[in-house]
């Protein structure tokens, strides 16, 4: 994997793109300039309460008259069965893992996200490319390469990162559904003990997310607080963003 960036449109390729435009080379046959919709991404590791927050946000936005769609990791029609199949065997290596995720994302981008942006919807994304980047980073995939790979992605208008510490995270996961093979990074062979492996893996993931915060303009939220406190904060920030933007685009249907 090369780290050369000789022909990149701008330095670093991934970071620093204008919200609503492609990060880098984009998809040449799908121009998106001037599409009125918005992408709001909620990031964070497993068990930080993303889906709860998204459900509440959706209700709140729809009541105000916004059209909303949700999209989430590995939910593409094309790739979901393949990814589940591949995960159930042990034939995946880090490169095919990364590329399967990217294919899933590309499918959702072309089939769900871009059409929604065109139609003036708000896209609530449960995780975005940063999760893929964090997972790849932990597995030692070249950072420049993975940023180029996701150069076809669109920079969201807002990215919220639900930040949590390792200790709270472990308790939450154990309390809800327990640890699973992939979320514990067992493929990394950090140790036979799933608890120790989960801890080491999640710690490394949290470090990766943290290192992307500045590059991709994460808005940090403390995920240890109560659900409604976090929701209030999300609504406050999203509300302010949309109020500013509404003047120009008028996304709401009355």
């Amino acid at each position: 994997m090369t780290s050369s960036s000789t022909s990149s449109p701008d330095e670093g390729a991934a970071g620093g793109a204008r919200p609503g435009s492609y990060y880098s080379y984009g998809i040449p046959y799908l121009p998106i300039d001037g599409y009125p919709g918005k992408i709001i991404a909620i990031e964070g590791t497993d068990g930080v309460g993303r889906s709860t927050q998204i459900r509440l946000l959706r209700e709140w936005l729809e009541v105000q008259g916004y059209g909303v769609i949700e999209t989430g990791w590995t939910r593409s029609e094309l790739m979901q069965p393949t990814i589940n199949l591949a995960k159930s065997s042990n034939t995946l290596n880090k490169l095919t893992f990364v590329l399967l995720y990217a294919t899933d994302f590309a499918d959702r981008l072309e089939k769900e996200i871009i059409p929604a942006l065109k139609a003036g919807f708000i896209v609530l994304s449960d995780r975005y490319i940063y999760t893929a980047m964090a997972r790849a980073g932990v597995r030692g995939v070249d950072r420049a390469w993975i940023r180029n790979l996701y150069g076809f992605a669109i920079a969201p208008h807002l990215v919220f990162y639900l930040k949590i510490d390792e200790k709270t995270l472990i308790r939450r996961v154990l309390q809800s559904r327990g640890m699973d093979y992939w979320e514990s990074g067992m493929d990394l062979k950090l140790g036979d003990d799933i608890y120790e492996s989960f801890r080491a893996y999640q710690r490394a993931l949290l470090r990766e997310y943290g290192s992307m915060a500045e590059e991709f303009n994460f808005r940090m939220l403390d995920a240890r607080r109560k659900i409604d406190i976090i929701q209030d904060e999300l609504r406050r920030q999203i509300g302010a963003f949309l109020a500013e933007d509404d003047v120009g685009t008028g996304l709401r249907s009355e």
């Binding site: 022909s7 095919t96 590329l99 180029n148 076809f152």
Partner: protein, 162 residues
């Protein structure tokens, strides 16, 4: 994009399981199509040329890459003569350029060939004129491979001397 990425995933899998291990064992790997096919095909489908090159930067650079070149008419005639049923994606039917399978194939593969021509210079592919007889092509191909292997052996001997 999904087309391009699925092929890259497949390639990565084959690279790691079928190409790199024999290379490590000092064997010769004969690859029927390589990353260049992806470069030509994906660019024809409108994927950014730089992006797809960087995407495949994890691939091993081949020691010798041979391009069997034929004009589009010859390749179409050959396929039709053998009554091969043209495949949907090979004919680029997804591009919506023509409702006729043969017509779409000609247009799509014609553009793919133009992309290959760019690659010949960019990557220094050795070109074999594939209009000629199979015997003649094989003779040239063997010569290219032999030359290449001899140079390789010389290098190794030099390494041993040094």
């Amino acid at each position: 994009m999904t087309f391009s990425l699925l092929h890259a995933t497949d390639f990565a899998d084959r690279l790691l399981y079928n190409i790199i291990p024999p290379l490590k064992a000092g064997m010769i790997v004969l690859a029927d199509r390589y990353t260049y096919t992806a470069f030509a095909r994906d660019a024809t489908r409108g994927v950014d040329r730089r992006w797809v090159r960087e995407l495949y930067s994890f691939a091993v650079k081949p020691d010798l890459a041979v391009y069997f070149r034929v004009p589009i008419e010859v390749s179409t005639d050959r396929l039709l003569a053998r009554r091969v049923k043209l495949k949907f994606y090979e004919a680029g039917m997804d591009m919506g350029w023509s409702a006729s399978l043969v017509e779409s194939f000609r247009t799509f593969q014609g553009k793919v060939l133009e992309e290959y021509d760019r690659l010949v210079d960019e990557y220094g592919l050795s070109v074999v004129n594939a209009v000629g007889s199979i015997t003649e092509q094989q003779r040239i191909f063997r010569k290219l491979v032999t030359q290449h292997l001899e140079v390789g052996e010389d290098d190794e001997q030099l390494d041993e001397l040094a």
